[in-house]
């Protein structure tokens, strides 16, 4: 799958790079869906001998390819929420020199980055690469509820039901973009939803 080039945006919006192996005492790799391809593109046998891969397939068929890399530890789980306790444990047990690599959707990378930051790793030391869906993890600024995998602008908040427009303003702490009621000044006048980058 080709990589999506995000348009220029404001300074709170995350910028993603391309994963590259770094020297490290251990390697923690977290990916969802097409994020597997970023791992497959850079994995080396030396790295995999010290690697822990946490993968959320989201219906994509990369699990066997990842297993074939022979990482020291491999996990495939049904959702980020299900994987989170394991990720936390991995970060808790981490020693100096751990390298963290995140790949896939923005929601996955943002949440995993947050966990790593909570464990004391500065966000600037974490590698990220976007692959796959360009859907966003959105916080409703009004009810504070998070709606996962938002593909259109505007969208309906999955908690309070307001019609929200999709801002580029992003909070690392919440791992989410901000959604704001689109028809606050003209109730009922909700534009037809279209793809976020259309």
């Amino acid at each position: 799958m080709s990589k999506f080039t995000f348009p220029e945006s404001i300074k709170s919006r995350p910028v993603y790079g391309t994963l590259a192996p770094r020297d490290g005492s251990a390697h923690l790799l977290v990916a969802d869906a097409h994020g597997a391809e970023a791992i497959l593109d850079m994995a080396t046998p030396e790295m995999m001998a010290k690697a822990h891969i946490i993968y959320i397939p989201k219906g994509e068929a990369f699990e066997e390819d990842l297993r074939a890399l022979n990482p020291a530890s491999f996990y495939s789980g049904p959702s980020y929420g299900a994987a989170e306790p394991r990720l936390r444990k991995a970060l808790q047990d981490a020693k100096m020199g751990l390298q963290v690599y995140l790949a896939g959707t923005e929601g996955l990378m943002g949440q995993a980055q947050n966990e790593a930051m909570a464990a004391g790793i500065p966000h600037t030391a974490i590698q990220t690469e976007h692959r796959g869906s360009v859907a966003r993890r959105m916080q409703c600024v009004h009810c504070k509820g998070i709606t996962e995998d938002v593909e259109t602008d505007p969208f309906v908040c999955s908690h309070c039901g307001l019609n929200l427009f999709v801002r580029d303003h992003y909070s690392r702490r919440l791992a989410a973009y901000q959604g704001v009621r689109v028809d606050a000044e003209d109730p009922g006048n909700v534009p037809a939803p279209k793809g976020i980058y259309e």
Binding site: I10, R13, H142, K144, R173, R181, P187
Partner: protein, 355 residues
Amino acid sequence: MSIQFNDETFRDDYSFYNSERAIKRFPFPFHEDSYMYSVNMEQHRGGPADSVYEKRFDVDEHYVAEMRDRAMVLADDPLRCQSLPHMTLAGWDLLELIMVSKSEDYPDLFELHRDGNNWRWINKPLGIDDSFVFLDETTLPYGPMEYITRQAQGDFCVLDQRDDNLWMDAGMVTTQADWSLDFDIGMNFFEWHAPVPLAHEKGIFVRALKFLLNIQQGAPARRLNWTMTVNPLLDTSPENYHKWGIQKTTLTPENIGAKQHLRVELQTFFRLPRSNALVFPIRCYLCSFQDIMTVPKWGRRLHRVVRDLPVELATYKGFIDNRPMMLDYLKNFDDGLETSAGIWPDLDTEPPLQT
């Protein structure tokens, strides 16, 4: 001078009003007949007698009512006041700064008695008389930042300084111009300003940050910022935008003079001694168009500024749709005469409106 505190509201029936004295000391933000972003910083070391610049933390006739409004906002949404765990010391610094400043600047209203770390704080307008141990959180009903900012007008952002940047790591934000502390907490200077149009390209934030990083203890700075608000609503938060946004559509040619308010922020910046954090109080002053028009110079100038403001700024400040109606009203107060330089009303020297 002793202050008569207004019994007024900033919501529902909007009984807020400015006395004649408050109008004359309103911090009109335009020093010339046009406006564009600039790093308009100056030292915060007093100013003309009875101006909002005179004291370190201005206390005015709205004090008691504003604190009542803040308590209501916090009861509805406690996330408006947050402090990341490493910011508690900065909260004590802020408490000390405000208590010392207010007790020295308004000795008839506030008293601070210190015996080592055993402090007694008396706030007469709010009827508070508390004894506590400085730096011991268990002796106050709230954390130090929340305790003192429930007693101080304006929003307060407490910024940690590290990695050559400033980080929005604590704050009390209930009177904001449409930004969310809960969303922005933890962001650096460029990130929390990310949504502001044009200013990044003009290099404003790079220069402003450089200035702020170098603010020293005892040498605070200040600037004015502004926007527009329909009705004297302090809590123009994004959290409640789905409720107040609609009020922007209630302007009519008949009510615009009373309903449309110029909203001015007196922003000050103080270095804090123990934490090396920077506190950034953002004090909001509201004045209706019809009250501003009682100062002829301000009437002339406001018309010209609103008329000539770039579309991006009028959009960002949220009044692009109402601008034509504003101009229809304001043009009646602009007779084309020149205006004197500077923000002050100059009532004795500027001519009355020529009709």
